[in-house]
Symmetry: C3
Subunit: 472 residues, 3 copies
């Protein structure tokens, strides 16, 4: 994404003050052309494996994107009218033009949000749209994007190359055979697409089908997952399977940051209780906590970077969960405590010199109080970038201001786009790079660091720290 | 309040950077003359019903204003020496000149606070004072304000018109007969004064005289409030009574955001326990929570907007509560949790398309973590403006920065002055409008939105969103 | 520290905007030459009593400074390789040149942190270093600093005078005989060095050797500390001992802000349980809480300012606690609650007009929600400056923005450097003064206060409020 469309401000997201803006501009010029490293996200590997055209603008931009449909729902639009499938298979809107018009009619809601920046950037840079999206332009823009989608240069692999992606990690169930990744490797993309080991379905006793998932893990690995030792061995085996297909990291999404450090007997008993389906909520929580420590131990052995995404109250609305199922924009952040919660794991492996655990939070109050002080002393801990509701200009700036003075930048992990919206990837990295440069420019302007240091730091934040954090 | 006094900076509260300041100036010029909508506050309706002159400067500015006397108390001044009445009727200062001098002698304490902005603005714009308030000018300013107060153009109705108030809502007990509001309507003010249904005294089992209040609610409505069904019917009836006198909203001030969704039998049992006076603290809390859900259900029926003001530890000082009673500046914010607390209510009515629930918080940590994500998806939820300790330049700016990226502005409810200090109303709206324009100017300056969008948003924040949120 | 080295930006930490920067410059010029008041810190009184030369650059800057070694540990350096002693007396690095080189090799980690500002300032202003610290300059800078340390003008008393320190308070165990302070007084320094009464070892039942410490307190005072009344009397006596040697304040470092207000019998019973060594964690916590109220009562009697430093999870890493002991950089802030926790103490003594309790927090979320509202009404409460992880440009600015609108500045206590790194004292006060001026300049620039007011406030923040808060 090297050319800048005239309608996007080339100085967007830079500081207002002219002198500081000049510094930001110069810093940004030094890193703007670096390739994209996307070490955590939710793109579908089949896009690159099959390289089929994306279907239509509505199903590319609106239907799968919870950032977008949640905002429209907040103003009274029904999920069904946006084509979001119902659990009961009942009727939903199927006409992509109607969905697109509803989106355009509500596009003003996104003023001031990062979604607006991402969509404008994608429409402009990817599809050459030069008019603002609004009811009067909705149909024309639909046609323009739709026409693009049928062309070979808008197929996933072509866009991957055009986006200048050097590496993209997907997030994959521990039970996935990664066949799509095999096909991608055979296809010879100009950059790498690698899987990430996400074992929640076989680790969380409250996950639907937990016992079956554990059994399947046994089948896939030839381990006796009815026993605690066999269960751990199966994870080891499966992690190796993922590593052999390029994975360098695992990912864990638990409601809390709780960890445990039980002895082997107690852990084995707890595992049996969980397998039996009779675990209490407390026991399930303890088991998830124990498994974080086990996963960390395995990371010490096999070198995989461990990612922890904590603190979301998933599927907050009961009625929406029943009508439309999971992941429909009703995930709400929870207050999260890290200091006491992580201690059992950190007492076990926290000082390991080659372990890398990347912590993500949805609770900004923990940034300066807990996470920066923890990452600023434990060699195993790194801070992941602002996540989800905070992957935004203000969120990124707050993150730097709240963590930079205690943890510095070298205990952070660069940027993650964490998206399933493929066309927004360049936009998200663009925002991140610009805001990081704006922050660094402020440090230069008021004499906290020198310009040569800021240039080095901008490179670190853009790619170098990502490579180090994820072992790339 | 259209003329600007020379001693107040016409660019006050605008950004320092010249280019951004110009944008803010232009945005502000577009909305500065809009009338004032004050949909939530604590003005005394008798002011407008009786139109008696305000008594004197001390009793206008100091004695009733907890923002002011709390700050003087913090530096060792006694409430009694400021004329604040004692519970036991014991002697307090009665000479308004002495009270005013004490205020002036401590006025430097307010440097950097919004109170300072409000007082300066009122003295200057309302009373034509052109010298800073300090010990040396205290007597002269007292005389000048006092002289004004005896003139007809400084009576409440004249000021109401001069302040360009289009609508002002008072907050009224569910047991109030609203006779003052009847008299105001008859008087034919140039704008509307409407009541708000505040039923805490008949909903909170821990409120003094709860059982008597419930009985009185029965008397007023002819409902059998000894039964659960009759009690609910009485609320319905009383809400209709308020609506008939112009009310469009209810207001609820609970210590926590707890809601419940009990079945009718359990609710009826809990109600009987509370009426008996034998409810535990837990049962009282549960009952308050259940009543929020009941009130929300009634709002679905009758269209009244529901306001929730949560999270104040009222009357924190035991000794002050005993000597001077409630509301003496010792209300301290509490940590508040919304995500789990609101779920029972939201699972019941949260997706109703025509329900409007406005959430206020005294805990800023919930803004980006909980409130913006909730309001950014539930159609029934709107975010109320920064409240109480946060109705200030920094507080308003933080509110926009912390909520704007997730909820946008269209899930917010414009500004509330929430004041009982009538002469500060223009000042408070002035601060709010200026800071909102400053925030929008920043978004324009760094390319996040266009100027035409910012102009539209400034109008929304000033009046349009208020009308929509409160059904005006 | 009056001369500015050319390599440090003379406008460092001032606002970017030219007009606001000019205001900050002018404000700073008005207070930059004021002497240093350091009313809370951890300098070793023996430095000034004995006036021995500091040993070498590594043991001056690196080995004792947890800000520095924690950051190196976070990137995999071993404490032992930095010369930090082991509990078991096992071997650690003893060559200061090697330690210094390790420090220099990792100095880039501090980019953007306050440590970087402090070290650069000390190297430049104190030792005349004019090259940036990095591997290539490490040896030369070591030699330059080391050569200085052998000169008389770099001995502690000479630096004390050169730093223009008017007053420096140390922190001393209640059991300390303060002999070093006697020697300092005899030496006739140009400023005062005074002790602070820190009785944690004889108040916290979980402190190592609590019962022995209480017994020793009895021995020192001739009181029967086996009885509750005698124990309290011993504290009274010991406080008088400290006051006679210049102390004006006490200091208390508890994990939480819990206070209690037990009657004398209950307190006496709890004391006996704690002395017996059989107190539960809950009882120990209650006792600490009771003792805060007792200490506050004694402060009402004897006029000593009471400091409360709450909310650190000390020695978070079990393995580090076992290998290297306490205070090795593994203290992590905890979420802290003040509103309910302080109520028992405040109901007892909170309205006392001559009591001064200074509250420090490591949990920034309490600043606007709890601490500013509490200090903005209780006459006994003052806000201590940003502490520890927040003694930094961003931390200080957030503190002012989060507390200034509710508590103003006159309920704050000026600056504390709170350091054991003597050579960083001028640097820390320099940062604080500059950031306070930057904040005030913003208030002037946008019309919230006048220039003459800002000048007065700058003086208050620099020295006047410190003298008032600490009774100096």
């Amino acid at each position: 994404m090297r050319d800048i469309m005239p309608e996007l401000d080339p100085d967007r997201l830079f500081p207002a003050d002219a002198r500081t803006r000049d510094i930001a501009r110069q810093l940004h010029a030094g890193i703007a052309d670096r390739p994209i490293l996307s070490p955590h996200g939710h793109c579908d590997p089949s896009w690159f494996a099959e390289n089929a055209p994306f279907s239509d603008p509505a199903h590319l931009f609106v239907v799968p994107d919870h950032y977008i449909f949640r905002m429209l729902v907040s103003q009274g639009v029904q999920l069904s009218d946006l084509g979001v499938p119902r659990v009961d298979g009942g009727p939903v809107e199927t006409d992509p033009r109607k969905i697109w018009r509803r989106f355009a009619a509500h596009y003003h809601l996104f003023r001031g949000t990062p979604t607006r920046l991402w969509i404008d950037h994608a429409l402009s840079h990817v599809f050459g749209v030069d008019a603002p999206l609004e009811p009067g332009t909705a149909d024309a823009i639909y046609e323009q994007v739709d026409a693009c989608l049928s062309k070979p240069e808008f197929r996933p692999r072509a866009l991957f190359e055009r986006f200048n992606i050097e590496l993209l990690a997907t997030t994959d169930s521990a039970l996935d055979d990664l066949a799509q990744h095999d096909r991608i490797r055979e296809a010879g993309l100009p950059g790498r697409v690698i899987p990430t080991y996400r074992p929640d379905a076989a680790i969380d006793p409250e996950y639907e089908g937990f016992a079956e998932n554990v059994a399947q893990l046994g089948n896939l690995t030839g381990c006796d997952t009815a026993s605690w030792d066999g269960y751990l061995e199966a994870h080891r085996s499966r992690r190796a399977y993922f590593r052999a297909r390029g994975a360098t990291a695992t990912d864990h999404g638990h409601p809390t940051a709780r960890t445990e450090s039980l002895d082997a007997d107690a852990a084995a008993r707890l595992f049996r209780t969980c397998l039996s389906g009779e675990a209490t909520a407390e026991e399930a929580d303890a088991f998830r906590g124990q498994m974080l420590t086990e996963m960390a131990r395995m990371s010490v052995e096999d070198g995989m970077t461990m990612q922890m995404h904590m603190g979301s109250h998933r599927n907050h609305s009961g009625p929406i969960m029943r009508s439309h199922g999971r992941d429909k924009g009703f995930d709400i952040p929870l207050r999260t405590d890290f200091v006491r919660a992580l201690k059992p794991m950190l007492d076990t492996v926290g000082l390991e010199p080659n372990l890398r655990i990347i912590l993500f939070t949805l609770d900004e109050t923990t940034l300066s109080r807990e996470l920066a002080p923890l990452a600023g002393v434990y060699p195993s801990l790194l801070l992941g970038p602002p996540w989800w509701f905070f992957d935004s200009p203000e969120g990124i700036m707050r993150f730097r201001q709240l963590t930079g003075e205690t943890a510095g930048i070298y205990n952070t992990a660069g940027f993650n786009d964490d998206t399933r919206a493929f066309c927004s990837i360049p936009a998200r990295h663009d925002v991140s790079r610009r805001v990081d440069c704006a922050w660094l420019a402020g440090l230069v302007a008021d004499g906290r660091i020198g310009m040569n240091e800021a240039e080095e730091m901008a490179g670190q934040l853009t790619t170098d720290l990502v490579k180090k954090a994820y072992g790339l």
